[in-house]
């Protein structure tokens, strides 16, 4: 909105984006239909579309979707409750922040997915190991952002509120919470997304059910076209969830 022609600029870049996807799809089609790429490696997009219609029409996807979303919901609930609570408690003391923030940040940088075999050993092949892994992975961005949100509120706001007589509760409700909320919401969005990724990922590695499990299963059965249909389905689900949490975050920030 800075310049006059910006609406046109936006339209133009949107057009380029659409054209890019269009070119990719055309190349995909040509590769399978004209250039003789094996349909086991790359199925025809038209067949993928038919499979997708079948998957959606038959409702075959519902049990797997339910498993994955349940795992995600439980994992995210656990990590956001524990992450926000612990983050708030740690942020109350500068000493605790100094000690624990680098520690948590250090653990956050480890690829926790490497511990999946351990999780499977502890919690079995079922949803429990996915929930545990998703909770662990999403806990870190949430707790770290909560510490950052509550721990680094500009002191002048706290001093001003205290000078006007704010009680502990009033300080939390009217100063600390609104000051920290945008940062915490970002942490929750990041946590949600890594929970989704790690749950789908661990389903493809070792699992009994779920969308990730279904995709690997189809790959092993050489049903490549149906596998692609499922992948497309999961991409749409993941993208919509992403849009929803981003919108919620923006609304929370106001």
């Amino acid at each position: 909105m800075r310049r006059k022609g910006s609406t046109r600029d936006r339209l133009l870049s949107r057009l380029v984006q659409v054209a890019f996807v269009g070119v990719l799809l055309t190349l995909w089609y040509l590769a399978t239909a004209k250039w003789g790429v094996s349909h086991l490696l790359l199925p025809n997009p038209v067949r993928v579309y038919d499979e997708l219609k079948d998957v959606l029409g038959s409702g075959e996807f519902i049990p797997d979707l339910r498993v994955t979303l349940t795992e995600l919901a439980i994992a995210f609930a656990l990590s956001s409750i524990s992450g926000v609570t612990l983050g708030y408690l740690l942020s109350r003391s500068q000493y605790a922040i100094r000690v624990f923030e680098p520690l948590l940040a250090g653990v956050y940088s480890i690829p926790i997915i490497l511990f999946l075999p351990l999780y499977v050993l502890f919690f079995g092949l079922g949803p429990a190991s996915k929930i545990a892994l998703g909770t662990t992975i999403s806990f870190f961005p949430i707790v770290l952002n909560t510490i950052a949100g509550f721990g680094y509120v500009d002191r002048i706001y706290i001093v001003a509120a205290r000078a006007m007589g704010a009680s502990d509760y009033q300080l939390f409700r009217w100063v600390l919470l609104p000051a920290a909320l945008p940062v915490i919401l970002t942490g929750l969005r990041m946590g949600f997304i890594v929970a989704l990724l790690s749950i789908l990922g661990s389903e493809t590695i070792a699992s009994l059910a779920g969308l990730g499990h279904r995709i690997v299963h189809l790959a092993e059965a050489m049903e490549t076209a149906r596998m692609f249909a499922y992948i497309a389905f999961v991409v749409v689900i993941a993208a919509s969830l992403n849009v929803i949490v981003t919108m919620l975050e923006a609304r929370g920030r106001r």
């Binding site: 002048i156 509120a161 006007m164 704010a166 009217w174």
Partner: protein
């Protein structure tokens, strides 16, 4: 001066930050005593780091002094006294997530004003500082001068006897400062408030104050108190009078030595001298 005329009684207040021997040990204030009269506007002026803000925070109960005592009326100050004292800070201490009106109302929520009175009082205070039309704006949408007006409205709405202002116009440009100073003089002439105003600006001190307390360099103590015998509200052309000029020059002379001392101590002056030799 009888004791009932004294709004704030400061006795032998000393304050240091850190402990002796530590690298960040600073003696900010040394044995400062002062009586602030009811209804006067007292300016504190002095070189950077001379402890004038420290003294203000001690009076407001935001800082416990290492030694000495402060009384507001007959109450010893041991913490914030939101019913007697309101603050206007130098930095922008408005909450950026709330509108101007919400900011003013929130101050009264903290102070414990009954719900029914808050909005009316907030609107009246915003009217008084000329921000009635900006009640629904967020602080980020206002200029620096308007933000300080809003901060002043928040402090006025609390209807305290004492107002402490810590370089409230410090971050503003000269013209905005001048206008705000004139408006403040008019506004405060109508109230009976006791005001302590920390500033760096000689002109601002003379224009606003009934008395100006000049601080010596660190550790700060009051070197001299100058009276500006001129009724409020002050007319803008007070600045052009001989009296104003004489008082300003007097302050300049008093301050100049202290400022040089403060600068040499902090090492800036030493470098300047070296580069000239």
């Amino acid at each position: 001066m009888t004791s009932s005329d004294v709004a704030v009684r400061i006795r032998d207040v000393s304050h240091h930050f850190g402990e002796e021997g530590e690298t960040h040990y600073v003696r900010a204030l040394l044995d400062t005593s002062l009586d602030i009269c009811r209804g006067e506007l007292l300016c504190l002026i002095g070189p950077s780091g001379c402890g004038k803000s420290t003294l203000l925070n001690v009076v407001g109960g935001l800082l416990r002094p290492t030694a000495g005592s402060v009384h507001v009326g007959n109450t010893p100050v041991r913490g914030p006294l939101p019913r007697e004292i309101a603050f206007v800070f130098q930095e922008n201490a408005l909450f950026p997530w709330s509108t101007v009106l919400e900011n003013v109302v929130l101050g009264m929520v903290f102070q414990g004003v009954p719900r029914g009175e808050r909005e009316q009082r907030a609107r009246r205070a915003l009217e008084a500082v000329g921000l009635a039309d900006f009640a629904q704006h967020y602080p980020g949408q206002l200029s620096g001068g308007m933000r300080q007006r809003a901060a002043l409205a928040r402090a006025l709405s609390l209807e305290t006897q004492i107002l402490l202002m810590d370089e409230p116009f410090g971050a503003l440009d000269e013209q905005t400062r001048m206008i705000l100073g004139e408006d403040l003089s008019v506004l405060l002439a109508r109230t009976e408030k006791t005001i302590v105003f920390v500033t760096h600006s000689l002109g601002e001190a003379v224009f606003l104050a009934d008395r100006v307390a000049v601080f010596s360099a660190r550790p700060g103590a009051i070197k001299e108190i100058i009276s500006v015998d001129e009724p409020h509200p002050r007319r803008p052309d007070f600045v052009t009078t001989e009296k104003f000029g004489a008082l300003r020059n007097r302050l300049y002379t008093l301050l100049h030595d202290e400022i040089r001392k403060a600068v040499v101590e902090s090492g800036q002056g030493a470098r300047t001298v070296a580069s000239h030799s």
